[in-house]
Structures are given as C-alpha cells and as structure tokens.
C-alpha cells in the first residue's frame, strides 16, 4: 500500500481528547495515521515537543484545544494560538511545509469534527509526501 503518514496529535484533556473519545463511542471512523498524546491544556504544548516530533520523523503534528472562549483554563487556547502562529513561521524557516503543523479547535461534543480534521490533515500530508527530515540528516551523516 502507499504512503501512510505518521501524525502526532496533542489533545487537551477537557475538550479535544473528550471529543476524540466521542468519535470512538459514536463509531465515527477516521484514518489510522494519528497517534494521540494527552495534555491537560493546549497551552502545555511546548514548541519543543513539535520540533521533537518532526526530528523524530513525524510527517505532521496536530495540536487540538477547546474553542476560543471555552477553554477549561479560560485562556490556554489563546496562548497555544500565539505559539503556533510563530511556530509555523519557524517551521517554514526550516524549509518544512507549514501544513505539516496544524492547530484546530475541537470541543468535547465534536467527535465527527475531530474525525474530519484527522482525515483532512492525513489527505493533505499524503499529497505533500513523507517528511524529508530524517532522510536528509542521514544523507549528511553519510557524507562524513
């Protein structure tokens, strides 16, 4: 079979992770590309985690939080929003397509939406193809 992207998802415990669970309980299927890591709030997602994922060979990184205004911690998602805005610029500077890094709002009741987000991101990354990071670093090492 073709290229199956590897996407790491950071989901906030209160909205998005619950939303993802809801997709399960309501049996909404989606691509098996995503690997979810639970955090209490999208504001916990240190940009280091995202860069770490990319350097470890992830084809994409998805960060999900509560919708603006609904944050369990009142403003955490806005902080995530600011960081992701700058992070996308940095990722671009690294020569990596910024579509590989994505921030989405998914509420506890949006199981279907979570599934759609994962499928859409998986499709886009399939078009982009595998991340070049690991191959390029290996080629550098091979030169020495």
């Amino acid at each position: 079979m073709g290229f199956e992207p590897r996407i790491v998802g950071f989901l906030c415990n209160w909205c998005s992770y619950t939303g993802a669970d809801l997709a399960g309980t309501s049996r909404v299927p989606y691509a098996p590309s995503i690997r979810v890591i639970r955090v209490m709030c999208s504001a916990r997602v240190d940009p280091t985690f995202v860069l770490r994922c990319l350097s470890e060979g992830a084809d994409g990184v998805l960060v999900c939080g509560c919708h603006p205004g609904d944050c369990h911690y009142s403003e955490g998602n806005y902080k995530a929003l600011r960081r992701m805005a700058l992070l996308k610029r940095l990722v671009r500077d690294f020569g990596i397509e910024e579509e590989r890094v994505r921030l989405e709002w998914v509420s506890a009741s949006e199981g279907k939406r979570f599934a759609d987000v994962v499928d859409d991101m998986t499709r886009k990354i399939r078009e982009l193809g595998p991340s070049k990071v690991r191959a390029a670093l290996a080629a550098d090492r091979a030169e020495r």
């Binding site: 590897r6 992770y17 299927p29 098996p32 979810v36 955090v39 504001a43 911690y73």
Partner: protein, 575 residues
Amino acid sequence: MGECRIGVYICNCGTNIAKVVDCDAVARAAQALSGVVVARSYKYTCSTPGQETIVKDIRELGLDRVVVAACSPRMHEPTFRRALQTAGINPYFLEMANIREQCSWVHSDPRAATEKAVDLMRAAVRRVVWHEPLEKRYVDMCHTTLVLGGGIAGLTAALELAEADKPVVLVEKQDHLGGNVARVDLTAPYLDSARDMLRDRVEQVRKHPMIQVLLESELEALEGYVGNFKAHIRTKEGPFDTPAGAVVVCTGYQEFDASRIEHYGYGRLPNVITSFELEQMLRQGRVLTREGKPPRCVALIHCVGSRSPEYHPYCSRVCCMTALKYGHEIKSNLPRCYVYDLYIDMHAFGKGCEDFYRRTSEMKTMFLMYEKGDLPRIEPAGDGDGCGMLIRIHEKLSGEEIEVPADLVVLMVGMEPREDAARVARLVNISQDKDGWFIESHPKLDPVATTTEGIFIAGACQAPKGIPGSVAQAQAASARILAKLAHEKIEVDAVFAEVNDDLCSGCRICNELCPYTAIEYDTARKRSHVISAMCKACGCCVAACPSGAIKGRHFTDRQITAQIEGVLEWASSQG
C-alpha cells in the same frame, strides 16, 4: 531510570478491542520492550479478576510500574489507580494507552489498528518509566463562607451553613434581601404566597448570630485559593475585608428587556406590559389598564426573548407555569375577564405542573398555539372592536388566522444573566457558557461546583430555574462546603506545577500567564514560585518557562518526550 519492572495489560474489552486489534500481538510487542516484566492480553482488565491479576503481579513479580492498554483513561484511570494502591504502590505509577475509543472503535483495518495500538502501548511504556510517586497534599481551611447574593438561593445557603454553626458573610447589592422572588405574588403550581415564604427566611437570616449581612454591598476582589480566600468588599460604610474558605455565588438573573422586541411595541403601546409589571398589580390586588379600567380581556404572550435565535435560544423554564398562574389570579381578581394564553409549546414538566395545566384550561383560559418565529402581531383596535387591541395570530392547531381582542397584553419575559455576570465570573475566576450562565464543573455529576476549587454556584445564575431548583442547589452547595469543613484541612490535587528555585532567573515571563494568579514573584529574591493549592496544572507556565525551571507534575517534559519517542520509534527506525 532503566531499572523499572513494568507490567503491561492489554484489555480485549470482550471483543470491543480484540475484534480489530490483535491484542496478543500487542502483548508480544510489549514483552520485547526493555523493562517489561510481564505482558498479558486479558478479556476484561477492568473486571474484578482483571484488577486482581494486576494486584497479584505487582505483589508477586515486584512490579513498580503498570501500563494498561484499554479504554480511555477518562473511563477507568481511577479504577486502575485504586488497584495499584491496593497492591501497595503509588497510584501515579500507572499509565494508560487508549486503544478502544481512539483505536479499535474508529479503525477497521486490523493491521493498521494493531500497529497503532503497539505504538500507543510503547509510548505508555516509555512514559511510565519516568513517572514519579505523587502524594496528595493538605492545606488549612477557613470556616467562614462568603455568599454572594441575597435571593432565595443565597438566603438558603446562608441558613444551611449558619445552622451548622459555620460563620457566613452574605453580600447583597440591593438595600433589601429576597432578590427576584420578592417581586412575585403567588407561586405556581400550588399558589401559595411567595411573600410569606420569604418573610420568615429573611427574618431568620437577619437575626442569625452566625450570619453577617452586608446590604448595598459588592465584591471588589477575591484573592487566595480554596480554604484561604480573602475577599475585599465595598459596603456603604466603606471597604470591608473578610477571609473565607469557600464562596457560594447566588447572583441570580435579570428579566429580559421586552422593549428589545420592537414587534410587540412594549413602551409604545401603553397596555402592553411585562409579567413583572403584572406581578406588581397582583400584589397590590388590582389589575387595571393604564386608563385605570379593569381589562375585559387579557392576552398572555409566551417566550418573550426566550427560545428565539435572535434573542435567547434557551427556554426560561418558569414562564409557562407563571402564565398559567396568571390565568388563575386574573380570574380570581376579575371573574368576568377573558384570558388568552398565546404559547409555542406548553412546558409543564415538574411536580404538579401537568395537573395545574389541566385545571387552568378548565377555567376557560383560551390556549392558542403559534409557530416559533411567526410572532403574534399586536395592533390598536378600531372603535367598533370594543377592546383596546387586536392580536393577530396564525393558530397552529386550527391552522386558522385568528384575531384576539385584548385590553391588556402581558409579555412573559424570560430570564437572562445579569449584566454584571461577566464581572462576577472574572472576580471569582469561573467561566460562563455561550449564553452567559456560569458553568458548573460537571453538568450531571457535579452541578454546583465550578472549575475553581472552593467556588460554588447556586440558583438562576447557573441557568434559568424556579424556586425549588434554586433552593436545592443552595442546599447542595452548602452540603459540599460542610463536607469540606468537616476536615480541618482540605486536600489539593497532587498534580500541579512547581518552580525549581535553583533554575529560576526571575525573568517574569510566566507571571502574567497563569489564569489562576497562582504564580507569585518575590521582588526581594527576584524569583517566581507557584502556590500549588491555586494551581490547576494546565501547564501553560511549564511550556513558557525559558529556563525549563517549571516542572508540570505528571506531565513533565521528560515524560512527554518519552511518549513522543515511543509513538515515533517505528518512523525513526525507518531512517
């Protein structure tokens, strides 16, 4: 850290997981990981025998870490933590991999699903190695409770607590107690007097030695955390500070402003009034038109401002029964007066209400049903009409265009959050939903607590509700507080952020970030530190700290990094 002894349990959840995920293969993969002593695939890990297996393994194989790959941790994490505790190891040495809700239930290809389950299990194993034993901690509790609002909910809460010999400070904005209930004549469905009901409650509160009532007063600021709040209150005598262990917010609601609906001409047509204006007439015992004549026909229009997309989408819950009540009261005041009741749906749930509805209709109140969004039109009547106004309505049941005569039109205005609700929410650090009502910590299982430890909500500030609901919530909140006060100290969660003082440089990046103002800056030492009892462990400051000096317990950088490496081991091995 390599010296862990890990047990891995792959739950089949009957066939819920096993029908897609090859659980034995996942167990085999687990067995191959360093540190894993035992890996079992089991039918129902959450069942008693399932848990016993874990306990037994911990005891006999000397496990010090446990990974359960099963349903969502939101489901059974507490269950398995208890199991670890039973076996005598710290409950936080558990990590779960969600291979049901987020795997077997959403993927159909067994190969891909199994591969994913292995990744998630591996990540959990890598993570659990870095878990640290966490202990619950306790802080002293101040026994005074601050009650905001002197309506029926506030009065009830205050009395409940005072009766248990706990001091209460009751803050009321107006110059009298009683809130909105004080504006009501009789109550539905039993038609007993709200006034009598309130009078002795207010008396008791006024006289109670344990209750300090502050009228014409407002909360200015609230510092501290559960058990140790400090409230700054503005009274007409000047500022007043009090410590408090807990806060009950009973700030109630305000009525919808009928003039916002041009269509009904409230404020333009003299004899279009609101339900509260009618209450006033009823309490004074005479229902009259502006011209001072007793009306011959009265029309009650439901859902004014409620259940409409452009105003409030929600049902205000009490108006239907209140309208029926008016039917009764008007008839008993003016036996010959006709009452027309124009409604969308008649919501008559609740004890005695359906019966009340039946009795009212027998009293010749005429019920006319209109379509949501197709509002009745009020027009001044012509001379020959023999009435003040004519109301046009598409009657839904008959399907006919009907003209209703009316000398008095009563708009059943709904409830809405008080305009100062946002300010209150900010002061006590709780959230509002999209309509502006305060959010409870769980809609079903924890309806009076909030996401801020020690702050409770009761009455109509949480959502539209009648007197019984408000009283019940007030009593529930009091019970919750009394339960806390039963212990000298209160428990605070073991999961919170802490600053490593040896690494903090006092850059103050984190200071502004904390939604709970749990981060304090020591100007003299130029260091920041977290007041753990106030911390809710969102981890925002942990991610922001440029020195990596802030550690988010149970969500440490090391733990999450191990998880990342775990899920991507496959990818990275592809080079």
